[in-house]
Subunit: 784 residues, 2 copies
C-alpha cells in the first residue's frame, strides 16, 4: 500500500507534518479548496515548486477540436477542457533578497492542515534562506461557502532570529505555464495560454482587476484582488500590472519577532454573455462584500456553514481511525464540489484537478448525488437542474443519433457530448438511466414535488423515450437493448447488459409513474396514454440474461461464454489493463474493470433473490480487477449484503484510501469524487444496509471486524435521523422532523421522539468461496 | 443509373467521344495507365483542368501521425499515405501565345480512347484558341509493361488553318498543388508538398533528372525525362530547371498542315536505401533502354505483352456489350495493378488514385488474387511474396496485441497496421485467413511447391497460430472466436462471425496440411505434432452459429435476434448509411453493408447444404444494402448458384458498371480493383459456376437472361482451358498443357485434346421469394 508518509490520522483534519516534494502534486489535490464554483488546488503560495497549478471555475471551459484518425458520422467535433484560470493564490516572499523557495535554504518545519470543520487550509513553515535569514510563515486560506465568488488568504511572515528585509508580492497571474504531461489518456489535454487579456487594471486604488476571455469558447472571466496589510511603520506598498500579471508589492523591514500580515481577498466571475464592464463590476462588488465581512467574518461564516453540514452529514466510525478520517475527508470534498453549484455540473474530480478534462460523467448521478441526497439535498437539486438545462442539447444529440428523447453526454462540461471514443462513450447509454435514478431518489427522499414536476418529469420523459428508441421487442416478446456499453469498460457494445436493462426498466417505470402524477405537464410534454403503456410494456418485458448452466446472471448476453482473461499470465505491473492490452482483447474476455452486474445487485437489488446475489457476487468477484475507482464501494456494499463482512471491510478500506494513499497513482489529476462518496456508501449502504425508495427507508446494519461503532445521520422526507450501530444492536434516533416508519432487517417499525434500539441478527453464513483475480484482492491496510 | 454520357460501348476499348468537365476527375481514374510499379492518372497533358493530379509509384508512401481524440493501447501512431510523385505527364502547349486550355477557346473535337489490346491511351483534339488559331493535337501515352520504370508519350500538334507559332513545354513537376478535398473518411488524407528536393538537373544534355525524398518516411524518388523532337526547320529547344520544375521548351512556327512531334520518355525509381547518385543513374539507365527500343518498339512490346495476357485471361460475352466491355476493362486494370509488382502490395485502388490513402486491404487476397490466380498467376506469387516479406511486422503486431503468430494489418502500404479505427480495422482478423485462402488457392492452381514451401507455409503457419491465440474451446468443447469483425462493416466486434470462423477453419486445416507436406521446414518453423493437432482440433470444433427458429445461419452469434434496420424510414439519399448514421446504431441492427455470410456461402460452399444456401441467401438479401463495392459480385455468384439467374445477371451488371458508370460516386478517388475483379468473378464463378480447390476444377455453367454465349479461359495445373457456355451446352477445350479432369455440374470428366461438349441441366427452381431492402435492388441498366 502506498501511504503518504506524512499524513497524520486525525478525526477532523488532514495534517501533513513535513513537506515531501515527491508527492507535492498529489497533496495539491488533497488540500484543494472549493465551494463548487471556485476551486483552488493546494499549490504553495509562492507558486513554485508545483505539481500542477490549478484555479478552476465551475463550468468554465475552452473548446478544442477532437481529432480522429478515421472519423465517422456522429463523432463530436470538439471537446471541452477545464481551464486553469487566473491564479489568485500567488504570494511570493523575498527575505533579504532571497526568494522563499522550499527547494533552497533550509526548511526546518513545514506543516499543512486541512481543517474539515473550519473549512480552511493552514500552513506553517519555518525556513532559513541560503544566506541564513530565518522566517516563520503562516498562511490560512479559504474558499468561502457563504460568499460564492470569494476566496481569501491570511499570510503572515515573522522574522525569527534577526531583523530582515522582507518583500511580499501578492499576484494575479493568468496563463501559467504547465510542465506536467502524461501519456495516460485519462489525463486532460493541455491548453497553452488559453486566456486572452481584455483588461489588466493594477491595484492603484486598492483593487486589482483582470479580465480575460477564451479564444474558442468565448467565455469571459474576471478576477480581482484587494488586501489588508498590517506591518511595521515604513512598510511600503506598490502596485503594478503588465500582460498577464497583476502585482501588489509590500516591502518592509521586520525586527525580530515582528510580523508582516497580509489578508488577501480575491474574487472571480465568469459569463458567456456579460460584458467586460459588467464582469469587472461583478468581481469588484464581490470583493466589497468580502471586505465588509472581513477575514474573521469569513472564517466564522465558514465554520457555521460547516457546522450545519456536519449536523446532517457526519459519520462516526469507532475502531478504525483511518476510515473515520477518510469518510469526513470525503464528505468535506463532496460538499466542496457541490455546495455552490448553481446549475453547473459536478466534475468527476470536482474542482481539485484537471483530470478527465474537468468533465462530468455518470459518477455524479450514481455515486455522488445519492450521498448528497440524504446529507445535502439542495446540491442535488442544483446538479440535476443543470442536467435539466442541458435537455435541449441531449434531445439534439438523440436526434443526431437517429433516436428519440434525450441522449445525455457521456462526458461534458457544457452539455455537448465530448467523448472521442464512442464504444466507451456514446454507447454507454446507461448514463441516461443513471440520471433518472438520481432524479427518482432525490424526489423520494425529499418529496420535492415542484422539482419532480419542473425538473424531474422532463428528465424522466426524455430518458424513457430514449429507451423506447434504443430497444425493441423480439418476436418472442422480450424487450432487448442491443449494442450498448455498461459500467464495465472492459466490455463494450454488447447486447442486453443487465445493469443497463434493469436501470432502463426502472427509468421507464418511474417515468410512467411521474407522468401519471402530473397529468397536466405530461400532456404538455406530449405524453399520451399510449406512450405510457409502451413504457410499461417495455419495462415489463425487459430481458435479463441468466446462464442456467452456471447459475449466474450474464453481465451481458453471451458474456459467460467468453474466454476468461488469463489472469495467471498477467503481471502486477500490467494493471491497469487498459494501459497494457488492447481493447479488442479486453472486450472479448471475461474480465471486469469495475462493478457492473454487481452494481445492478446494489441499485436494483429488488430484481435478484438473495441466493442469486450470493452466486453472482462470487462469480464476478473472480473476474473483477478494479482498474477503476468506481468499484470498491459497490463491492463493499454487496459483500456486506451477502455476509462477507471481512471482505466488505477491506473494500471499505480501499475506497477510503483511494486518494489519501493515492492507490491509483493519479490523485495528482484531482480527487476521485465518486470514490470519496464511496466511503459513505460503503459505510451507510454497506454496513448500515441502507436502501431507500418508494417512500421506504430500510436498514440492515452489520459491522465489519474492527469497527466497534458506526454512527451516521441522514435526512429523509423532512426528518433527520441518527443511526448508531454496534455489533449487537442498532439505535435509531429522530433528531428533527416528523415521526417516520423505518425498516430494520426487513421489519418495519415506527420512529417517534423516543430512540429505538433493535438487535442485529447474525450475518448469513457465507455460501460461496470468494476470491479475486490473483493480485487483485482489495488493498490491505496497516492496522491503525 | 449514372452513365458517363460520352463513353462508347466497344468490345476492346473505352472511348470517350467528347470532354465533359463534370466527370473529368472520374475519367482520370478510368483512363489511368499503370504497370503496377508506375501509375499515371489520366490527367490532361496540359496539366489543367484536373480532378486530381496523380503519379504514383507502387509502395512509395509518406508517413503521417494518426491522431486520436482518446488514444488507447495498441493504436497505430502513424499512418502511411500514397504520394503524388514527380509528374512526368505534363506537356503544355501555347498557340500564338494562347495557352491550350480546354476551358477557353473552342474545343471542336475531343476524343480519348483507352485501347485494351494496345495498352495505350490516345487523345485527339481539335481546338481553336480564343483568338482563333486552330490546332489539332494528338497524344498517345503508355506505361510500359515490359520496361518497368518507363512511361512515354507521343505528342503531336498540327496547325490546321493557318501558320501558327507553337510552343510546347514538356515538364517534370513535383509537389503539385491539389485542390480536391472531401469530407468522406474513405478519401486520402492530403499531403502538402511531401517531397524535398535533392537534385534538379535540367536537360542541357538531353536528359533532365530530379531527385527528391520524403520528409518522414525517408524514401528517395528519382524521375528523368528525355525527348525525341521532330519539327520544322528552325525549331528551337531550350531546357531550364528551377525548384520543383524541370522544363524542356520547344518553339517553332508551324505552317498549315505541318506537325510538331515530340516523343517524351520518362522514368522513375525509388528506394528506401539507395543513394542519390545511385537513383540518378538508375533512372538515366532506364531512359537509355527505352530510347534504344524507341517509341515504336515500346508500342509493339506492349501489344505483344497484352496479346499473351489475353490469350489466358480473355472473357467473351455475347448478348451484353456493356458487360463484354466491362470485363475486359476490369481485367486490363487488374493486370495494370499487378503486372510489375515485384514485392509490393496491390492497393485497393491500384495506382489509379489516392483513395483509401493508397492502402492495400483484404480486397486483394479475396477478390483480386483469385482472378489473377487463374489468369496471370505470376502476379499472385509477387503479391503474396510481399505479404511474406511483411511477416516480421505481422508477428510484431501479434505480440503487441498479446497474441501469437502473425496479425497482418487491415490496411497498409509498407506492412505496418495503419488503421485508425480498430473495430473496423485490427478487429477484422479475417484478413489473416483471407491471405491463407489466397495462398492455398494459388498453390492449388499452380502446383508451385517452391512457393508453397518458402512463402506459403510461413504465411499459413503465422496465421494458424493467430487463430489459436484468438480462439478458445468453451466448456462444451466448441471452438469460439469472440469479439472480431467480419467483412460486413455494419457489424463489428461480434462473437463467432461465420465467415471468419469458416475461413479460420480452412486456414488451420491448410496449415496442418502444408506443415505435413514440408516436415523439414515445419520443424524449422517450430511446428510440433502437438501444434498441428491443436490446429486440427480447433478446426474440427469450430462454432458455426445457426438460428433454428428462423432456419438460417447467424452472420455472427446473436445477429438474428437484433432489431432489423428500419429500411422503410431510410431515405434514398441516406445511403451509404455510414455517412448518415452512427456506427453504434448500425452495429446493433440487422443491416449488412456487404456480403459476409453470403461470402462464406461462396468461399466455403462446402460447409453449407444447397437448401441452407438458398435460405441463407434469401434471408441476407433482405438485409444487404451494398454500401460497399465488395458485394455485388458475391451476390451474383450465390444468386446464380441458388438459381436466381435473372437477379445474378443484375448483380453482374452492377459490378460491371461500378467504375464505368461511377455507381458509388467515388471513382474520382480511383478504380475499385476488387469490383473490377468482381466482373470476372460474377461471370466465371457465377455463370460458369467455377469452383476450384484441392486439385479439382469444377464448373456448373448456367447463363443469365440476355447473355447468349459466355467464353472464358483459365489456367489450372499447367493447362490452359477454354470454356464456352451457351444456354444449352458447355464446351470445354484444352488450349495448352496436359489432359485434366474437370467437373461439370457435379460430374467429373476427362478433358484431352478433343473438346468436350456437355448439356447444362436446368437451373433449380428458385425456392425462395427474394427481395432486397427497398431501393437497394441492384442498379438496373438500360438495354444495350
Amino acid at each position: 500500500m502506498i501511504r503518504h508518509p506524512a499524513f497524520c490520522v486525525e478525526p477532523w483534519s488532514v495534517r501533513e507534518c513535513r513537506l515531501d516534494l515527491d508527492v507535492l502534486a498529489q497533496t495539491e489535490s488533497v488540500f484543494a479548496l472549493s465551494n463548487g464554483h471556485v476551486g483552488l488546488r493546494g499549490n504553495l503560495e509562492e507558486g513554485e515548486p508545483y505539481g500542477e497549478p490549478g484555479t478552476y471555475l465551475g463550468g468554465f471551459y475552452e473548446v478544442r477540436p477532437l481529432p480522429y484518425a478515421e472519423t465517422a458520422y456522429g463523432y463530436p467535433e470538439s471537446g471541452q477542457t477545464v481551464v486553469n484560470v487566473t491564479n489568485g493564490k500567488v504570494i511570493r516572499l523575498l527575505v533579504d533578497d532571497e526568494p522563499f523557495d522550499v527547494r533552497y535554504g533550509t526548511l526546518h518545519e513545514h506543516e499543512r492542515v486541512l481543517d474539515l470543520r473550519a473549512g480552511t487550509l493552514t500552513r506553517r513553515a519555518l525556513w532559513s534562506s541560503p544566506t541564513g535569514g530565518q522566517v516563520r510563515i503562516t498562511s490560512t486560506r479559504l474558499v468561502s461557502f457563504t460568499h460564492r465568488a470569494v476566496a481569501a488568504i491570511r499570510y503572515e511572515v515573522e522574522a525569527v532570529d534577526d531583523s530582515r528585509h522582507v518583500v511580499v508580492q501578492s499576484e494575479l497571474v493568468a496563463n501559467e505555464t504547465r510542465q506536467y504531461t502524461s501519456g495516460d489518456p485519462r489525463v486532460a489535454a493541455p491548453l497553452e495560454s488559453p486566456l486572452v487579456l481584455e483588461e489588466n487594471l493594477p491595484a492603484k486604488d486598492g483593487v486589482a482587476i483582470m479580465v480575460h476571455h477564451t479564444r474558442a469558447s468565448g467565455l469571459r472571466v474576471a478576477a480581482a484582488m484587494c488586501h489588508e496589510i498590517d506591518g511595521p511603520d515604513g512598510t511600503r506598498i506598490d502596485a503594478q500590472g503588465s500582460a498577464d500579471v497583476s502585482r501588489v508589492t509590500v516591502a518592509t523591514r521586520l525586527p525580530p519577532g515582528r510580523r508582516l500580515r497580509l489578508v488577501k481577498f480575491f474574487s472571480y466571475g465568469w459569463s458567456a454573455r456579460r460584458s467586460r464592464p459588467a464582469m469587472h463590476d461583478q468581481v469588484v462588488a464581490a470583493l466589497a462584500a468580502a471586505r465588509l465581512v472581513g477575514w474573521d467574518g469569513l472564517c466564522s461564516d465558514q465554520r457555521q456553514f460547516l457546522d450545519a453540514f456536519w449536523e446532517s452529514a457526519d459519520v462516526e466510525v469507532e475502531g478504525d481511525a483511518e476510515v473515520q478520517q477518510a469518510v469526513r475527508f470525503g464528505m468535506f470534498h463532496l460538499l466542496q464540489s457541490a455546495a455552490r453549484l448553481e446549475d453547473r455540473p459536478i466534475p468527476a474530480k470536482g474542482l481539485t484537478g484537471s483530470g478527465y478534462d474537468g468533465h462530468a460523467f455518470w459518477d455524479t448521478e450514481i455515486f455522488v448525488l445519492p450521498v448528497l441526497t440524504y446529507t445535502y439535498p439542495r446540491a442535488v437539486a442544483d446538479a440535476l437542474s443543470w442536467r435539466r438545462s442541458t435537455l435541449p442539447m441531449a434531445e439534439a444529440r438523440a436526434t443526431q443519433l437517429g433516436l428519440s428523447g434525450a441522449a445525455f453526454p457521456w462526458r461534458t462540461i457544457h452539455g455537448e457530448e465530448c467523448s472521442g471514443y464512442w464504444p466507451a462513450g456514446t454507447a454507454a447509454f446507461h448514463i441516461n438511466a443513471d440520471i433518472a435514478h438520481a432524479v427518482t431518489h432525490y424526489v423520494d427522499a425529499t418529496g420535492d414535488t415542484a422539482f419532480e414536476r419542473d425538473t424531474g418529469l422532463p428528465l424522466l420523459t426524455g430518458t424513457a423515450r430514449l429507451w423506447c428508441a434504443l430497444g425493441h421487442h423480439e418476436s418472442d416478446g422480450r424487450y432487448r437493448i442491443d449494442g450498448v456499453t455498461g459500467p464495465d469498460e472492459y466490455s463494450a457494445v454488447a447486447d442486453n447488459n443487465v445493469y443497463t436493462n434493469l436501470m432502463a426498466q426502472q427509468n421507464l417505470r418511474e417515468a410512467a409513474e411521474a407522468a401519471a402524477g402530473h397529468p397536466d405537464l405530461a400532456a404538455r410534454l406530449g405524453i399520451t396514454e399510449e406512450e405510457i403503456t409502451r413504457w410499461r410494456d417495455a419495462a415489463n418485458a425487459m430481458t435479463v440474461c441468466y446462464d442456467e448452466r452456471l447459475g449466474v446472471h450474464q453481465q451481458s448476453e453471451g458474456f459467460t461464454r467468453h474466454g476468461v482473461w488469463n489472469f495467471a499470465a498477467t503481471k502486477p505491473d500490467q494493471y491497469p489493463l487498459l494501459l497494457h492490452f488492447p481493447y479488442f482483447d479486453l472486450y472479448r474476455r471475461q474480465v471486469v474493470k469495475q462493478a457492473d452486474l454487481v452494481l445492478a445487485l446494489h441499485l436494483r437489488g429488488d430484481a435478484f433473490t438473495p441466493e442469486q446475489k450470493a452466486r453472482d457476487f462470487a462469480y464476478y468477484e473472480a473476474l473483477t480487477v478494479r482498474d477503476s475507482s468506481l468499484s470498491a464501494c459497490t463491492q463493499a456494499v454487496i459483500a456486506a449484503e451477502v455476509g462477507q463482512l471481512e471482505l466488505a471491510g477491506r473494500y471499505l478500506g480501499e475506497a477510503a484510501m483511494m486518494d489519501l494513499a493515492d492507490l491509483e497513482r493519479n490523485t495528482v489529476d484531482g480527487l476521485h469524487m465518486a470514490s470519496l462518496a464511496g466511503v459513505w456508501i460503503s459505510l451507510v449502504a454497506g454496513f448500515g444496509g441502507m436502501r431507500a425508495g418508494e417512500g421506504r427507508m430500510c436498514f440492515a446494519p452489520r459491522l465489519p471486524p474492527g469497527v466497534t461503532r458506526l454512527g451516521f445521520r441522514l435526512r429523509y422526507r423532512g426528518s433527520l435521523l441518527h443511526v448508531g450501530v454496534t455489533s449487537e444492536t442498532t439505535s435509531y434516533r429522530l433528531l428533527e422532523g416528523p415521526p417516520i416508519t423505518l425498516t430494520h432487517h426487513g421489519e418495519p417499525f415506527p420512529l417517534r421522539t423516543e430512540p429505538v434500539t433493535l438487535p442485529n441478527p447474525p450475518a448469513p453464513a457465507p455460501r460461496q468461496q470468494i476470491h479475486q483475480p490473483p493480485g487483485r484482492e482489495p488493498a490491505s491496510r496497516r492496522p491503525s
